[in-house]
């Protein structure tokens, strides 16, 4: 199965990358995806998306097909073929 990860905001600017496409054999959870991204980006994503208790950092936004995982199954949300995961650091605006 194919999953697509999109980086925006400071992730995109600092990593100079707009994301990754992963081919994987079995479904993985968001937790496992973060670990996978850490392998490619030097532990960057655990630091930016999770707090020291391993929960989602306040304000960090993780979407699966446009839905925030906090309203799905949180870090245990399972990913399936063709899912698009979008990542944002905490943001403000008006």
């Amino acid at each position: 199965m194919t999953i697509k990860v999109k980086f925006y905001s400071l992730f995109k600017i600092n990593l100079k990358s707009s994301g990754e496409v992963y081919e994987i054999k079995n479904p993985i959870t968001i937790s496992e995806l973060i670990n996978k991204l850490d392998n490619d980006y030097d532990d960057y994503f655990t630091n930016k998306l999770l707090n020291d208790k391993g929960k989602i950092s306040p304000g960090a936004i993780i979407l699966v097909n446009g839905k925030n995982i906090l309203h799905l199954n949180n870090l245990k949300t399972e990913l399936k073929d063709e899912d698009i995961i979008t990542l944002f650091p905490p943001s403000a605006g008006g």
Binding site: Y8, S9, I61, K67, N68, S91, A92, G93
Partner: protein, 363 residues
């Protein structure tokens, strides 16, 4: 905020499916990455951030275009109003239109969304080509139009004289007021209410008409500050909207920037007010002051003739979003409004009783 300014929101709001496109006909914009905050950096237009006097955040954009034009902005709302709302993917043109508004003193949300309304009127045949007097066609996606008609508006030339009256009067004069995306004749800003139910309620009940600023429910419903609410959940939303509206009234009265509220809370504002004034507020009495301000504003509106039947959204929002992750969802504000009135202590018809006004020290 320092690095991308408010334009950090383009991709966030679009990815969440509430980025109004083509005069609020759609919830996502295909070309968002051409016009986003990231694009402003990547295209080299951004020179640096800048700030209001003394501000440590400095979210402003110091921008220079390839043709040498130099100025401030665009902000998120401006970039959206002239961008996705008009179907335009040309960041250069958007920035030029923004600079014209700065020079001429035009509100960018109103200017951009009025042009978007005109584009839909033109598309549906309610504005004729000969009315444009050789100006570019008012079509969604036209980067020439957003620059040209902003100037026309500013100088009240040609059809600009009508555009200058705002989208409601424009649409109404053509027999189609329902094509003006406005509340109490003020144009709606950059968040489709169908994608965020609490924020939609704020649009309906803001004393300023279609305004996001004075009850910015995007903060909890999308950004997760101070905590993440489900944007489609209805339970508890009236209470949240009320707190945001009352707290914002306080921050506005103190004269501080609203963006401080992403870091500060009611207790912090209480300490600041008391330190600066020698008043003796508690957090509760400070929030009550916000409530009193809100009630006073509404009472002024009611007495001036803005009746409770203006507490409504355009009919478009009774229809579902046609695209994106929130496809199929319509605005539920009609369910929330009676609960809001009740929580506010107002009458069922939306008026404020004399008893309530006396209680508030207004009458």
């Amino acid at each position: 905020m320092p690095s991308l300014g408010t334009k950090v929101l383009d991709n966030i709001i679009n990815s969440n499916g509430l980025y109004p496109t083509n005069n609020f006909q759609y919830g996502t914009f295909e070309d968002v990455e051409e016009v986003s905050g990231e694009a402003l950096v990547e295209k080299g237009y951004l020179q640096s951030n800048k700030g209001c006097y003394g501000c440590p955040i400095r979210c402003g954009r110091d921008v220079k275009l390839p043709n040498g034009q130099h100025g401030e902005g665009p902000e998120y709302e401006t970039g959206w109003a002239y961008g996705a709302d008009c179907g335009v993917n040309d960041l250069n043109a958007i920035t030029e239109a923004n600079f014209i508004c700065n020079e001429l003193g035009l509100d960018t949300i109103t200017a951009g969304t009025t042009i978007a309304c005109a584009m839909e009127l033109y598309e549906k045949g309610h504005i004729d080509k000969d009315e444009l007097e050789n100006g570019p066609e008012l079509k969604f996606g036209s980067s020439e139009s957003i620059v040209y008609y902003t100037k026309q508006m500013g100088y009240r030339e040609g059809i600009g004289d009508e555009l200058a009256e705002g989208s409601y009067r424009l649409a109404e004069s053509r027999g189609h007021p329902e094509l003006s995306m406005s509340v109490k004749k003020q144009e709606l800003p950059a968040y489709d209410p169908r994608g965020v139910q609490g924020h939609g309620l704020n649009y309906v009940t803001s004393n300023r008409g279609g305004c996001h600023v004075r009850g910015y429910m995007i903060s909890p419903e999308v950004l997760g500050v101070p905590e993440k609410l489900d944007p489609q959940e209805l339970e508890g939303k009236p209470e949240w909207v009320i707190i945001f509206q009352d707290l914002t009234a306080i921050i506005d009265s103190i004269g501080m920037c609203l963006f401080t509220s992403f870091a500060l809370g009611l207790d912090d504002y209480r300490e600041i007010v008391n330190a600066g004034t020698k008043f003796d507020y508690t957090s509760d009495s400070l929030l009550e002051t916000g409530e009193r301000i809100y009630n006073l504003e509404r009472q002024f509106n009611l007495e001036a003739g803005i009746t409770p039947d203006e507490d409504k959204l355009p009919e478009r929002f009774d229809e579902p979003l046609p695209d994106g992750p929130q496809k199929g969802i319509n605005s539920k504000y009609k369910e929330l409004l009676p609960k809001y009135y009740k929580k506010r202590g107002w009458e069922e018809d939306g008026y404020i009783s004399d008893k309530k006004l006396e209680e508030m020290g207004i009458k």
